[in-house]
């Protein structure tokens, strides 16, 4: 009999206490009641090492980098190492035919039970020829692997919303996972890259409850994407006071004032960066002095300059406005000429003269 997750962790030197602490933290992050931590520990502890297949399509490997290197070694890493990651092109030792065979074997042995994680968008242009693995297009691979998956987690903005590959003019015809997979539970974990604990949190939630957590309108888990960065930002009081950094090196910036004027997209970006942070809770972009890019929102590449304030227009075609004003003057002049003509006609009419 294969060892359970808890047994596997113990063999890695993780105590029962640390394991329970992790479950409690995870339950808290997922906004679950305290009793859920016990249920989560019980479910995770008994779980056989679940099979996970990770497919990488049009992406930069940043999502994998985030997960494996952000705060290693960590308990999340070990949890992730303790699942049966049967296929991951970046991390697996096998290559070529052996790698593909590993995926086929995992799919056959765990059909209908494995969890599919996808990073990267799927190119549809030219029959999917822009991105292939082992001679098979990403589209065909996704359809085939997703058919036997219990759930699909789209990791990163590219797989969630199309991301950078889908940016205008979208030369490869890139689409998101949820555009293709419509008959399976799909959850989006966007971010460029996403926060590691959010990825592991989704897997843990599925193992515990057998379902993915409640999502918002963009299929993002509400527990992690329920609030805007702005709502949880430590610079928010400066926004409320009207204190803004004007440049990246002025006194306001040095005093840690709000970065709204420098293009921060925190007010319209839903993510947990401001609370969970990165590198073991060390910092996040705004804390490092740069505004939020809005990377966990759909189409964030095509929303104008990263440094354009949110209240500023994204279209300011001055010549077009000048033409509109000129047209107004022309119409007004014609109206005035017509009026003058009427004035002349009225003043020359006999009726008017008799008066």
């Amino acid at each position: 009999m294969s060892e359970t997750l808890e047994q596997n962790l113990r063999s890695h030197g993780i105590s029962r206490r640390a394991f329970l602490k992790y479950c409690t933290t995870l339950a808290s992050l997922l906004a679950l009641p305290p009793s859920a931590a016990t249920a989560m520990a019980a479910a995770l502890g008994k779980a056989q090492r679940p099979s996970v297949i990770w497919l990488s399509f049009q992406e930069c490997t940043g999502c994998t980098e985030s997960l494996t290197r952000s705060n290693s070694p960590s308990l999340e890493d070990l949890i992730f190492n303790s699942i049966s990651l049967d296929y991951h092109e970046t991390l697996q030792a096998a290559a070529g035919t052996a790698a593909e065979q590993a995926r086929e074997n995992a799919m056959r042995e765990h059909y209908g039970k494995y969890i599919l994680l996808v990073d990267g968008s799927i190119p549809l242009g030219h029959g999917g020829a822009y991105s292939t693995v082992a001679g098979v297009s990403n589209l065909d691979t996704l359809k085939k692997v997703a058919a036997g998956a219990a759930a699909v987690v789209a990791v990163g903005t590219c797989s969630s919303f199309g991301g950078l590959p889908m940016a205008n003019p979208n030369p490869t015809g890139a689409v998101a996972v949820s555009d293709i997979i419509t008959d399976k539970p799909v959850i989006n974990v966007p971010g460029c890259p996403p926060i590691p604990v959010v990825i592991t949190g989704m897997v843990a939630h599925f193992l515990t409850f057998g379902a993915l957590p409640e999502t918002d309108l963009h299929k993002r888990p509400k527990v992690f994407y329920g609030d805007t960065i702005h709502d949880r930002c430590y610079r928010r009081p400066f926004y409320d006071q009207g204190k803004f950094a004007r440049t990246f090196d002025d006194e306001g910036a040095r005093n840690g004032w709000c970065l709204y004027e420098l293009g921060c997209k925190g007010p319209i970006t839903y993510n947990s960066c401001a609370t969970l942070k990165w590198n073991e809770g060390t910092s996040f972009p705004i804390q490092s002095g740069h505004g939020c890019l809005g990377c966990s929102e759909p189409g964030f590449w095509d929303k104008g300059s990263f440094y354009q304030p949110l209240s500023a227009s994204t279209w300011h075609d001055i010549p077009a406005l000048a033409i509109a004003a000129g047209a107004g003057v022309a119409v007004g002049a014609v109206a005035a000429v017509v009026s003058r003509h009427r004035q002349d006609s009225t003043s020359q009419s006999p009726t008017n003269g008799e008066k």
Partner: protein
Amino acid sequence: MNLLDFARGPGLQGALAIFLFGMTWRLAGILLLRRKTDFSVARTGDWWFGAFRLIVQRSLPRREFASATGYPLALSYLFHIGLVIILFGLNQHILLLRTYTGISWSNLPSGLVNLAAAVTAAAMVALLIRRLSHPVLRLISNFDDYFSWLVAFLPVATGMLAVAHLGGRYENLLAIHILSAELLLVWFPFGKLMHASLIFLSRGTSGALLTRKGAAI
């Protein structure tokens, strides 16, 4: 393209184009009209001063009508001053104006702008109640009066909600606020809101003519 993208992009561009078209149409149409030739000898040459004087004078309360006009006049002053503070004092608005003019200035503290917005909204509501409850005012009011009030009030109300993050997701609140401002821009040249520019033109013209004739103003 979501609602906010539309509001910040083509929506704003279109509204501004209509606003500029309408404003220049109305102003050119009036300014290019033929003026009646005045054959009389001018009593005084400082008609510019007369024009300016009448603009100021007609903006001040008249003592003999103070009891009748004091209340609406005070409310009107309150919400006009409030609108100026909101439009030119809030940093988000300054950043928008900078996009088109390249000019920027220091913003006012948000607390002061929020207070101005609250006073403005309250004064506008009070004026609407007065218009609805006053028999004469109600009789002479038409669609233009009520719609102009609405398009002026909506940006204030939605702006307050957006700043306070009340009533929905911020991106939707911001989009609705910008769209309401765009509605104001579109309506501005064609309704009674046009008084904001014509009032100076008409009062100035009257002041200049009266001064030329030597009338006391």
